[in-house]
Amino acid sequence: MIVKFIDFLRDRLTLVIRCCIGVLALLVLWDALFVSKEHAHTMVEHIPGFWSLFGFAACVIIIIGSKWYGHQGIMTREDYYDD
């Protein structure tokens, strides 16, 4: 059943991707128009879609920053300790 469902989605990959983008857009709209910001802790959080930007930026910074760090000699061959 699980496999059939996954295959069903994979067969309609373009549609799935479009739906996901639609969900993202709706989420930002919802945040901008309907979500009350009274529980916000700081001023920056009042910017519409602030956390979307934060999430995306966090993801990019983590991937690029970590890979850069890894390629400074931290990532090394698998048999490094075998000698």
């Binding site: 930002v28 529980h39 802790h41 698998e78």
Partner: protein, 597 residues
């Protein structure tokens, strides 16, 4: 509950011994019954807070059973995890592995219920010395070395703890009680005890033992290990060091450190291990914040973490169990072969990522909210950043590169891959159910926390928090798919702090082999030429003097003695083993004579 208080560790230790003599047909029944009994024992303590199991030993009163809100929430989840872990490992034939696992849990429970540092130290060491077998039982060539490294690091941590408690004993005039240590006025012993605790909590730079050992442990051993050592340390910190400010930056560093290394990691179980460091970072920061809400958050997150991290290790463990592989560069596309393992791992991944309706959502947010409430903004924002990283790896990278992505499986791996045995699936099903149940029905967890009144005031499901979390997570997912190429796993390892003691050990051997050995050789050589040769010459002279002058004078006495010696030597059998046999025979005869007499 009557006055009779039974320590759950006792049930597990006795159970582990009984298991060794149980016939094979009955073994599974015992394997289920013993952890269930321990769990029921803990359940029977609910609502009966107090101090039990006190014993006099020399000058001290040892406390084995302090039952209160803080100890109960940890004891509850640990005995529950013991049931789940044992079900997961039900197929394991080696009863010694079960024994090691149960004694390890017993060590954890001993620390959780203890009321003084002596008992704490005893159980602390029991944990290290039993869990190391869960690494050794993997049986690979690397397992032995990894186990020894694990043991050495924990012994060093144990020594720091011991030094701290001895100094504290002296400074306080004989106080061994284990409670809030006085974080406002730290002494040397405060730092030493804290160092012992944070080593077990895997706070960088004292963390490298964790991915090293958990990546190498047996499939079911790792499920136990991921739950107990670090969370027992979180308990100890929450008990003794609540409000210790240095723990906030340390916790935030942990949360980010784990995330960075998880990007680089190619081994699924080591990636999960790095995320333990990251998640325990939230708990450590919570303890450092120290408010009632933060301590609640640390406990709630430890509770949720034990379940979802166990679930994740079970999911990736099933892949290792079935295919023998745990590296992303040797896996991929397995959803057709192992769909259930995928589903369970995904539930674990969504829980750790704090998706709404999953357990992490109701626990992690409590710590971050406490940070914001105490105006510790940078800590709160950095923890939010780390939570994006958590979803990135555990929610997306792990499922994607094992079950989807490029199929890197060899023909053999692909053929072997299928969903694991039913007992492993059952354990994952129970853990999955609990992850979702905790996320959906918050009073189950919140009522158990040390400050239930404060917890009841906290409502994770408000619109703002939902919007905030969904935005972070879904836009992280967008970033993941846009940067998918960057994340392609590479068949490498990442150097971490263990480099210092692994290479340090080698440097020591090199020192021993090269400079010290050659210095020794040079000294011997010099001794031969400068010391020995003149000495030989001198002794030859004295020998000549003795033989020709003295002996000549004293009428050949020396020659006489030599001849006598020769005769005596002839009388002896001359060989060592004959002498030993002869001696044994004499002893045997003496014994027989004595016995007869």
């Amino acid at each position: 509950m009557t006055d009779l208080w039974i320590h759950p560790s006792l049930i597990l230790i006795l159970g582990a011994l009984v298991l060794q003599i149980t016939p094979k047909a009955m073994r599974k029944a015992v394997l289920i019954a013993v952890p269930v009994l321990a769990f029921l024992d803990v359940l029977s303590m609910q609502g009966h807070f107090g101090v039990y199991g006190q014993a006099r030993f020399l000058d001290w009163t040892l406390t084995f059973g302090r039952v209160d809100g803080l100890s109960m929430v940890f004891a509850y989840i640990m005995t529950l995890m013991c049931i789940i872990g044992t079900i997961y490992g039900l197929h394991v034939e080696n009863t010694w592995e079960h024994l090691a696992a149960w004694i390890y849990v017993a060590g954890s429970l001993g620390v959780i219920f203890c009321g003084d540092y002596l008992v704490l130290f005893l159980f602390w060491e029991l944990m290290a010395f039993s869990s190391v077998f869960l690494v050794w039982f993997r049986g690979r060539k690397e397992s032995l070395a990894t186990g020894y490294r694990y043991l050495l690091v924990h012994t060093a941590g144990g020594l720091m703890l011991l030094a701290g408690l001895v100094l504290r004993y002296q400074a306080t005039g004989g106080d061994i009680s284990f409670g809030p240590i006085g974080v406002g006025d730290p002494h040397l012993y405060t730092w030493l005890i804290m160092a012992g605790f944070i080593l077990n909590a895997a706070v960088p730079p004292l963390h490298a033992w964790l991915p090293d050992a958990y990546g190498e442990a047996t499939v079911s051993g790792a499920v136990f290990m991921c739950a107990f050592t670090t969370k027992t340390a979180v308990y100890a910190l929450a008990r003794g060091f609540a409000g210790m400010e240095i723990l906030v930056p340390l916790g935030v560093c942990m949360a980010l450190y784990g995330v960075v290394y998880a990007v680089l990691e190619n081994d699924a179980r080591r990636l999960l291990a790095y995320h333990i460091i990251s998640q325990v970072g939230y708990m450590v920061a919570g303890v450092g914040l120290g408010s009632q809400m933060a301590i609640n958050g640390a406990c709630a997150h430890a509770f949720a973490h034990i379940l979802y991290k166990g679930l994740l290790f079970m999911g990736c463990g099933s892949v290792l169990q079935m295919t023998g592989k745990s590296k992303f560069t040797e896996l991929g596309g397995l959803y057709k072969k192992m769909p259930r393992a995928f589903l369970f791992t995904l539930i674990g991944g969504l829980s750790i990522s704090a998706f709404p309706l999953f357990s992490g959502f109701v626990s992690k947010s409590m710590i971050v909210a406490a940070g914001f409430e105490q105006h510790n903004l940078w800590a709160a924002f950095l923890l939010m950043l780390a939570s994006a990283g958590t979803f990135l790896h555990t929610g997306l990278k792990v499922p994607y590169y094992i079950w989807f992505g490029k199929n890197n499986c060899s023909k053999e791996t692909w053929e072997k891959a299928k969903d694991p045995p039913l007992n492993m699936q059952a354990a994952m099903l129970i853990a999955s159910f609990l992850c979702i149940f905790i996320g959906c029905y918050t009073p189950y967890l919140y009522d158990m926390l040390p400050y239930p009144d404060v917890a009841a005031q906290y409502h994770p499901y408000d619109t703002y928090h939902l919007s905030e979390t969904l935005q972070i997570l879904l836009f992280t997912a967008l970033g993941f798919f846009l940067l998918l190429k960057k994340l392609t796993p590479e068949a490498v390892i990442s150097l971490d702090m263990d480099w210092f003691y692994r290479m340090g050990g080698r440097a020591f051997f090199w020192l021993a082999r090269k400079p010290i050995q050659s210095a020794d050789d040079t000294v011997s050589e010099a001794y031969n030429t400068i010391g020995l040769i003149p000495l030989m010459k001198t002794s030859r002279f004295w020998s000549w003097f003795d033989w020709n002058i003295l002996d000549g004078v004293i009428d050949g006495t020396a020659r006489g003695v030599r001849e006598t010696g020769g005769v005596l030597r002839g009388a002896q059998a001359g060989r060592l083993q004959y002498n030993i046999i002869l001696m044994l025979a004499v002893v045997a005869v003496v014994l027989v004579v004595l016995a007869a007499a």
